[in-house]
């Protein structure tokens, strides 16, 4: 009893120690001085209440746990339903339904919502790409945003200096990002786990700092602005298209619709997202996809069977980076502006969180997680101060509730033809 009393007291003090400096103290400017003021009585009372609750919670920990166990458990996701949801066949139908909805709704949605959906799709692409590297091949990459930046800047620079359009830049950006992935792949071939994470983290930061300090070419911290929007076979979606070109609306004799370009970009992002989904889905069922997984499981056994780990790792890095390049191009086209600050480590962490939250290696899981992770900050805009808090709470809850992610990966059951014949 004394022990639980001690730890209860400690917890209560801890509540004060954590909450009081953050919530109970306020910095205000009086004249030219910064003055520390105590928070309102209501805030202090809330903190006091919390600490009392914490005290009781820790003091009666055992009784509470027992009571919790005795009470009827929360409705859990039944095993059958969870299994059903993660089966490849079901996933295919869900994806198909999602695609149908995704194609139609922007024509009825608001401008802001379509713009946000484009961002979601960019994250879906990034999540799917990183899923190859982290989820399938098991190489922890904390600098994935570097490839995203390479893609975005390739488009921005080519458009700025050479006037290249979106459609030429898209494959070029993918290629450029893939090249960087390949180049990063070489030095990190010998590394695994934590060491690999540190090196890739450094790589991501190097790219950002490089872009930031190469002021003559990249415009430094100001970035590159007025990146052109994509066109449909040369038809622009602007109100006043450049000299000698027609706008989409003139060509088809429609009224100018300011939402046109946003919907068009959304559809491009959707198309690219679907291509990424299809390609990666196929890759997983190809020998190279199996080899990635085998490498994650046991590199030594791979070598003993004659698989070349160098090629397998490099291909995972290169392909993963390539999808980040595509996503970067769409991002540059959507924003019309790229600055190095769009590609900070936080962005890498966000993409990694999408992969982990969705369930390593699971594609539908990654898509769902990308939606949740992008919409959550938007929906919680009113409590934007507590955004990170909600974010953290969500992560902790996920780790308790479903440590394997929303929809964990399921192995495709391969049919044995012969056995079936015999039965």
């Amino acid at each position: 009893m004394t022990r639980s009393l001690k730890s209860a007291l400690f917890s209560a003090i801890l509540v004060w120690a954590v909450a009081y400096p953050i919530l109970g103290l306020k910095l205000t400017i009086v004249g030219i001085n910064l003055v520390v003021q105590s928070g309102s009585t209501a805030t202090l009372l809330t903190i006091a209440l919390c600490s009392v609750l914490m005290f009781l919670r820790v003091l009666f920990n055992q009784q509470l746990t027992a009571a919790w166990k005795a009470s009827p458990s929360l409705p859990q996701v039944p095993a059958g339903a969870s299994d059903f949801l993660t089966r490849p066949k079901t996933q295919r139908w869900i994806v198909l339904a999602l695609v149908m909805v995704a194609c139609i709704w922007p024509f009825y949605g608001s401008r802001g919502a379509v713009d946000l959906a484009t961002l979601v799709l960019i994250y879906v692409m990034l999540g799917l790409g990183l899923n190859i590297v982290v989820g399938i091949a098991g190489l922890l990459d904390l600098g994935y945003v570097g490839f995203y930046a390479v893609g975005a800047y390739t488009y921005a620079l080519l458009a700025h200096y050479y006037g290249f359009g979106f459609w030429i830049c898209l494959p070029l950006a993918g290629l450029a990002a893939a090249t960087f992935g390949f180049l990063l792949g070489f030095p990190v071939l010998r590394l695994r786990g934590d060491y690999l994470a540190i090196v890739t983290l450094g790589f991501g930061e190097i790219i950002r700092l490089f872009l930031r300090n190469l002021t003559d070419i990249t415009g430094g911290p100001n970035g590159i602005s007025s990146i052109p929007r994509p066109t449909l076979f040369g038809l622009s979606f602007d109100k006043n298209p450049p000299e000698g070109t027609q706008s989409f609306f003139e060509y088809f004799g429609m009224h100018y619709n300011p939402d046109g370009k946003i919907i068009f970009l959304y559809l491009i992002a959707l198309l690219l997202g679907l291509v990424a989904l299809f390609v990666i889905n196929r890759l997983l069922r190809m020998p190279i996809g199996r080899a990635w997984e085998a490498l994650r499981e046991d590199e030594i056994a791979c070598r003993a069977l004659g698989l070349n780990p160098t090629i397998i790792k490099l291909s995972a890095f290169t392909l993963g980076a390539c999808f980040a390049g595509f996503a970067g191009t769409v991002f540059a086209a959507k924003q019309g502006l790229v600055t190095p600050e769009s590609f900070t480590f936080l962005e890498s962490a966000m993409i990694l969180a999408i992969v982990v939250l969705g369930g390593m290696g699971s594609q539908l899981g990654v898509i769902l997680a990308a939606i949740v992770m992008t919409l959550l900050p938007e929906l919680t805009r009113d409590f934007s101060d507590y955004r990170m808090l909600i974010f953290g709470a969500l992560m902790v809850l996920m780790m308790i509730w479903r440590p394997q992610g929303f929809l964990p990966m399921q192995r495709p059951a391969l049919k044995l033809e012969r056995t079936e014949l015999r039965k």
């Binding site: 196929r282 190809m286 020998p287 997984e293 085998a294 004659g306 192995r411 391969l414 044995l416 033809e417």
Partner: protein
Amino acid sequence: MTQNILEVSGLSMRFGGLLAVNGVGLSVKEKQVVALIGPNGAGKTTVFNCLTGFYKPTGGTILLDGQPIQGMPGHQIARKGVVRTFQNVRLFKDMTAVENLLIAQHRHLNTNFLSGLFKTPAFRRSEREAMEYAEYWLEKVNLTEFANRPAGTLAYGQQRRLEIARCMMTRPRILMLDEPAAGLNPRETDDLKALIATLREEHNATVLLIEHDMKLVMSISDHIVVINQGTPLADGTPEQVRDNPEVIKAYLGEA
């Protein structure tokens, strides 16, 4: 007289000041079962690691079909047909049994990116053949009913058999088994013995194995090489080795 598949002479491996393997030589002929025995810590697994390219031997030559292979990276040696199992089973635990077998056929498969992307007939055929071969071997090692179970959930003896099947998928020139009977019960050991016999008779497999189970070694080996503290002690037929006083001394100590 059949030709030597594997010819090792003067193999030595030094780790800093420690000479783990010193002047070991052995030769393996087609369809032979050769055993490498010796007390614990004698350097048997080190010899295996040198042969399969996991270590770069510091001296000696290893000839596979007359070609030197010493110092090559492990995956290249494996591609030349020297394939091994491990003392502690190394399966891809989260992948199913049949997937484990498919991975081993990697280099026999159509790995063309585009043909895989669009499922061309050539790609389908290559995948189907791989599948059929995997089925064939699953049946051989009696694991057909576990085909879609994750390999890590199989019983230990089944994992051992799956690992051998996985090696056979690569169509090896020589199969190297590192203590295949370790941790098996007497019945499973008998099954293993039967399996090795089948491999040799029906699939023309050549086997080099490390084993502590003397009953197994004496009954299936054509030739035995004994090493002690990294140096070769004796070699010959099972009878010769069994009666060699040096060997008895190394195993049982001074009388």
